[in-house]
Subunit: 281 residues, 2 copies
């Protein structure tokens, strides 16, 4: 790691993502848990993860977990569906603080919202191939009708900051075309990048389909777990947050400030270190 001076903010919420998608979780944490401090790391330099081989996703994600553990967070959110599918269970076993992925909260919310038991999932290639949503959904509901669709074209739309381009809606529409004649009442946005283009997705699937944002649900589950563990911040002071990216800090800041509607500081780091002992054992 090239970072030289680290200010230790013990007790914050560590949030990681392959890039800027996890900012949708940050926005929800800011909204639902406004007293909590966030330490965010986005691996934009190596994004997207969705089409990478599993061993790379595994290594890169553990490098981010390692990075966050320096700050002694009280909980870590793997705010990336692809990374959740690959490492969540392993990391949960290896470290003692709560580790929350984005797949289970989204799946649970879909079960809460569906009336027809016909659920759709959209995500990256990696997430859809992992079949993790099906696995989690069928664990409690073996008879659900589930339609999964990989939409590899959507993350670049967000990550490159092109969501306001004129043809953005055409791209979304084309990606979602296979869902056109399938009757769903609930669609899980199985990628934390997607809430940033939620208006385009809603327009493409129609107003009758309830969209589930894993970001919103994950922040809600984080809140519930911190409350259960009596770990919610109780002092009413302004928290200070830290943002790190492996990519261009300017590009990251531009998307982040636009999405979060506030000024932030961003520090660039490199994450090419070997995995530490606590995670490699």
């Amino acid at each position: 790691m090239t970072i030289e001076r680290v200010v230790f903010l013990a007790g914050g919420i560590g949030i990681l993502d392959s890039g800027v998608g996890g900012l949708t979780v940050v926005k929800e944490v800011f909204r639902q848990l406004p007293l909590e401090e966030v330490i965010y790391i986005g691996d934009s330099a190596r994004c997207p993860y969705g089409s990478r081989p599993t061993h790379e996703i595994h290594t890169f994600t553990l490098q981010m977990i390692d990075f966050l553990l320096q700050f002694e967070p009280k909980a870590i959110v793997i705010a990336c569906n692809t990374a959740t599918a690959v490492v969540l269970e392993e990391v949960k076993r290896k470290i003692s603080i709560p580790v929350i992925g984005v797949i289970e909260p989204g799946a649970r919310a879909a079960i809460r919202e569906t009336k027809s038991n016909r659920i759709g999932v959209i995500g990256t290639l990696g997430t859809i191939r992992s079949r993790m949503y099906e696995k989690v959904l069928r664990k409690t509901h073996p008879d659900l009708s589930i339609t999964s669709l990989a939409c590899p074209g959507l993350v670049p739309l967000v990550e490159d900051g092109h969501r306001k381009m004129e043809d953005a809606f055409q791209i979304v529409q084309r990606e979602l075309e296979p869902l056109k004649n399938i009757s769903l009442d609930t669609l899980i946005l199985g990628c934390t990048h997607y809430p940033i283009i939620v208006d385009l997705i809603q327009k493409a699937v129609g107003d009758d389909v309830v969209l589930i944002s894993s970001a919103e649900e994950t922040a809600s589950e984080l809140s519930s777990i911190l409350a259960l563990n009596h770990q919610l911040v109780s002092e009413h002071r302004e928290p200070s947050h830290r943002f790190f990216t492996t990519g261009s800090p300017d590009a990251f800041r531009k998307i982040a400030e636009d999405w979060l509607k506030r000024k932030i500081d961003v520090t660039q780091v490199t994450l090419d270190h070997p995995i530490s002992e606590r995670l490699s054992s």
Copy 2:
């Protein structure tokens, strides 16, 4: 207790309420966790709790907890806002299985759903006087605008099976009158009886207000806690449920079968026993 033969179903979900209101949580558990077994006890003979003195609510609720513990449940849901306000923290400290109340899940869902930060809460006299919703909501959101209203007339409407009477809507409208000129975007149904008359409440407050059912949210939180503890049922078999009431089994069955849309067995019990050692210490 007068119950003579108890079939021990270790590992079910124990659910208790002052009467039939907790059936709204049961319905959501059936829907969101269809593989789990439910053991339900409703204290209809001594319902409503909302206007009783605290020491009575305390004793009666601990008697129900005691009753449920015989069945060795893996979790207990206090599916009554009044009882949650009085005993949740105490029971959590005293027994080792997860104990879930209905107040925190509802409060968290309201925070998730509100856009304007103007939240309303309706409940029994006991719940509203306890100010528990305000306490939980302000813990993370000190600046929320919260309007609380006690609606003592609503529980009898449900408990007496009168919700289909012609003047039911007039009663609901009169009870909610004080909210008329207050602009809210989210209203917490702070009593598990209320989802049974949700259509009347929605009609009275208008379609623009999002109603939060603590029943739905509590089942969702139960699901999340069981998943976190690796305690979800994994065999795909038909669960068998047990229902107990201190009141008339026929009256209970009538309301329950109408609400749950399935046949159930109901056993009458009396709960006048002294509190057992594990709870009285």
